[in-house]
Subunit: 471 residues, 2 copies
């Protein structure tokens, strides 16, 4: 395919701006239309998550476009989960036994601004703001926009349209409503919503609690988490049911009730949050949904990418990383020099969809893990064992978390399959008291345990394969 | 709750007419609006499946309303699957080792007509035809209809509206489009479609092939099936990919190609189908989709039931049975005399949804089982073993198929969980050659094998439970 084709990208968020940068580097003529104002000029953070988890899959994409060092400057390493119980006791559960493996808290706005700057360095990339896509005529490869400044509507055409316009995608809506082809689609909401709160810095600009961790207050059916920001603050998120339980978003209607709830459930967090009730009633409560669909493309005309194709809940810290990985995978398909866009899109979806389906499911699993399992003794013993294995046998063992988060050359689907089997093997060995507790293990016993886990894991995978009658 | 309330039912198909009958028996004032003409007066079979599998869950509903004997007269027992290979050899694989367990082929039209007749015997039940529901205002409990005869539109209100209007439900669409609450929804299409064909009776009105079986021609990635009708004919259904493989719905465009395809893949069926190409080009190709959603109800105003809440693919022969079971389950909730409709609807969905989700997944599993696994030697050995177990230990063993189909007092979810674990246990024992082939087993060995299967099944369930960290 010739590279001087015109590619129209809908949405200049994290995925769209990275895609524009990469396609710009590849020599395409790229036009990006974004409904919001330019976030480098206007503060538009309200209502969207302020910081995000950034890890190895995302970083692989940054390496692809050559900006990994610039991104590092925006990152705060988080080495593990800092678990807070009701009494205010804490313990740190590392994400990996290998010290070079950690995740990062990164500012959404800062990273998006960097990507926009880098994309715009390319003459063949143009970005237009305040232009909202209303619908896409995918049979004609044209998109209808509304200009929020002039209030006028206009139509743009292109050789190819790629929608990176997020969970509420206009292209996906056009696919769904047109009924021109069989479009599989799901939107699944949790019965929980979330609300962003904050822990402000001390008067001297310092962090009020430990900086290099993702803080979790797990309470079984709900939880509070906190991620650090560069300015010394933490963005705190409350995940809570809309209707269920003694306290929920529907019945927390007064400052007194909110304070009572935090006093009872999160007293150590409440001490750091004098601004709690103000935040609580100023900030919106937002839903938590998963979107899957297929096909992502219509012939060689249009393609969904990022959240527009696969929006996920935030509990694995992989939403942004998965969208960045989309661009890496798409780029790899472009390297194959296939004959036309339809073949490119088909090939991309055929390799990619099993992985984005997997991370969607893993993210739901992690919701239960974070709010509940992290406080379960068997789960905690598993994590301690896995830390020891990763520390002592760094080349031989990676936990599910490590496979998903730090093994960017293994797809999410493979990581899920192997990781779930390992978890099952270990949890059963611990529950059945088949192995000593990790604190009591000699190095030799640890090695024996590793071998048993590997054997049990392979047996589980083999049994599952036979049960599925796979050829 | 008082019983003299006005209940509006949208749709007088199998589920709607049964629901009308049951609510009529309970003393409610029931009005049913159906978009099609009265099928007792006009032939409207075109494009819909002509016969359906009717089994124990459906029969339980018929017993509830007291018409099981009348339904029996419409049924043709099918004792098993008659598997046809390419050479035209056949073998019968029974559905159960217990001779009183079999499924039935029943005429959709005949059964629906019976239910309408029975419902209309109640003075407090009125059924209106040619009235299409266009939308539902669920906040006001009103529905907008178009009268196909007068072309006018009108609005009806009621104390409660229950939509039994099938996979394309107007109420579900109103839920989805309103965005007034978080509505989880999925539509999932298989990449295969289906087309109905026929084997006509002999000139003397006899069946051209074995009457009391569900015939299957499994070919790995596609299949043909046939179910008997009372008039001596069989309704034949081709399940085939739209695009994939050498032959598919998109490329079978001429009578010559269709004949070539059948000659190559289904020569013994082709001999019975001189009318093949005529049927093929006269009858539509239809998609195969699964619909799930939640919540089914809006407060105490409106409720989805039957296919409108959970449309499934036809491969387990449970679509109609599941919808009939909905009425049985709903009736059981009504028996609890809860305080209001909202509580009734919540309680109904809370108990029912896990089961309709399960049968949706089981139906997809069975698609692969019917087109592919039934021809797999390990699967065939499993079925032979299960037949022997059910025959010799009728009180101690039921296969997954039996649990789903013949155990109407166990929910689909329980049947799925136990059935899948059993399958996994048996398939692994056979694949690993842990047990003799069933033909070589003594009765004592068979008994030992049963014990091992039970033990392995329980171990699998226990391991899964530990892995899920369920409390």
């Amino acid at each position: 395919m010739k590279t001087k084709q015109n590619i129209l990208i809908i949405g200049a968020g994290l995925c769209g701006s990275l895609l524009a940068l990469r396609l710009g580097q590849r020599g395409y003529n790229v036009s990006v239309y974004e409904m919001r104002p330019d976030l480098r000029k206007v503060d538009i953070s309200a209502g969207r998550s302020i910081n995000l988890a950034f890890s190895d899959r995302g970083n692989k994409a940054m390496e692809l476009v050559g900006i990994e060092e610039k991104v590092k400057a925006l990152c705060i390493p988080m080495n593990g989960r800092m678990i807070h119980n009701k009494a205010g006791d804490t313990f740190l559960s590392n994400y990996s036994g290998r010290s070079h493996e950690y995740i990062n808290s990164v500012s959404r706005g800062g990273l998006n601004a960097l990507l926009l700057d880098e994309a715009e360095k390319h003459e063949n990339v143009s970005i237009y703001f305040n232009k909202k896509c209303k619908s896409v005529d995918f049979t004609k490869t044209t998109a209808l926009f509304k200009d929020y400044e002039t209030k006028s509507e206009f139509i743009e055409d292109a050789d190819v349209i790629i929608a990176t316009d997020g969970a509420g995608s206009a292209l996906r809506k056009s696919y769904y409503l047109s009924k021109k082809f069989l479009f599989s689609f799901s939107q699944d909401y949790l019965t929980h919503g979330y609300k962003e709160l904050s822990i402000l810095p001390t008067k001297t600009g310092d962090y009020k609690t430990y900086k290099n961790a993702l803080h979790i207050w797990p309470r079984g059916s709900f939880m509070l988490i906190a991620l650090p920001n560069l300015d010394g603050s933490f963005t705190v998120t409350l995940f809570l049911g809309y209707d269920e339980g003694t306290y929920n978003f529907n019945n927390l209607t007064t400052p007194e009730m909110v304070s009572e709830f935090f006093q009872k459930e999160f007293p150590d967090a409440l001490e750091l949050m004098p601004n709690l009730t103000e935040d609580f009633f100023n900030n919106p409560t937002a839903p938590l949904g998963t979107v899957k669909c297929s096909p992502w493309h219509y012939k060689g005309n249009t393609l969904l990418m990022g959240d527009s194709a696969h929006a996920i809940v935030p509990f694995y810290g992989q939403g942004m990383n998965a969208s960045f990985e989309d661009v890496v995978e798409f780029d790899a398909v472009l390297d194959q020099n296939l004959e036309n866009w339809e073949t490119v899109f088909k090939s991309y979806e055929a390799t990619r969809k099993k992985d984005t389906d997997a991370i969607a499911d893993l993210a739901i699993d992690n919701f239960h893990e974070m709010k509940d399992h992290v406080a379960n003794p068997i789960f905690q013993e598993k994590r301690k064992l896995e830390m020891a294995l990763e520390q002592h046998f760094p080349d031989a063992y990676s936990s599910k978390y490590s496979l998903v988060t730090f093994n960017e050359n293994m797809g999410y689907h493979g990581a899920m399959t192997r990781g779930r089997a390992q978890d099952k093997a270990i949890l059963n060995m611990i529950a059945n008291k088949d192995i000593p507790t990790v604190l009591d293990m000699t190095k030799d016993e640890l090695k024996q345990t590793l071998k048993r886990i590997q054997q049990e894991t392979n047996d589980i995978l083999e049994d599952d394969k036979i049960a599925a009658l796979k050829k």
